[in-house]
């Protein structure tokens, strides 16, 4: 059984390190509200920008601090590659574990989202939407890594 949609194993280590670092930086910048200290203000192309001040822009150019966009791009790309990189011994049982983790991550993620949707109001809800950008990926990675850890350390009873 060959899986064709997985990334090569050699990218796993690199993307894992990149994901952890960028995720920690993203969280830290968000918690300490420090995006403004790392401003990379530039002109960007926008499909749509309903500018808080000024006229809205459709299919045009607008000014924006892109430090958070860059960081989110790194988190998502490295996260996807890390989550879907081949394991060293990639076989059908690993594929099954991956599928289970993905299913449970999806269920847990939408459970949490529904809970937050019902019980969180006001501006804090924007934080929920922000976290929802990568929460499923994060839950999947944690769950899959834990299950693979259990798998690699499963008891060996030889004769």
């Amino acid at each position: 059984m060959k899986t064709t949609y997985l990334f090569p194993n050699r990218l796993k280590m690199l993307s894992g390190v990149l994901f952890v670092i960028s995720f920690v930086v993203l969280t830290a910048l968000f918690v300490f509200d420090a995006y403004d200290q790392f401003k990379i203000k530039t002109t960007v192309f926008a499909l749509f920008d309903d500018a808080v001040i000024g006229d809205p822009v459709y299919f045009g150019f607008t000014k924006n601090n892109i430090s958070d966009e860059l960081l989110m791009a790194i988190v998502l790309c490295s996260g996807i590659v890390f989550a879907f990189a081949k394991e060293k011994p990639e076989d059908e049982m690993v594929a099954t574990i991956r599928l289970h983790s993905l299913a449970w991550a999806t269920i847990a993620n939408y459970g949490i989202l529904l809970f937050c949707y019902i019980f969180i109001y006001g501006l804090t809800f924007l934080t929920v939407l922000m976290v929802a950008m990568f929460s499923q990926l994060l839950i999947f990675i944690v769950l899959f890594r834990y299950k693979m850890y259990r798998f690699y350390n499963s008891q060996q009873y030889e004769e």
């Binding site: 059984m1 011994p89 076989d91 059908e92 049982m93 690993v94 099954t96 798998f151 690699y152 499963s154 008891q155 060996q156 009873y157 030889e158 004769e159």
Partner: protein, 66 residues
């Protein structure tokens, strides 16, 4: 589902690692198979049967509740 992989492995004098390498899975997968924690795909079952020179039915057996 029950299986007699452990018995067959003993008959052929293979370790879990040997068997894993011969059919191209990880050692942990063989371990899970023997413990009955994992039901293999048809391809893997056929590979095991071929290696042990048995039919799939001789290695795998349905249980109540399957």
């Amino acid at each position: 589902m029950k299986n007699s992989i452990k018995v067959q492995r003993a008959i052929h004098n293979l370790t879990q690692q040997d068997l894993a390498e011969k059919i191209g899975v990880s050692r942990q997968t063989i371990n899970a198979l023997e413990a009955g924690k994992y039901v293999p795909s048809t391809v893997l079952s056929l590979k095991l049967a071929k290696l042990f020179s048995k039919t799939v039915n001789e290695i795998f057996e349905l249980e109540d509740g399957d």
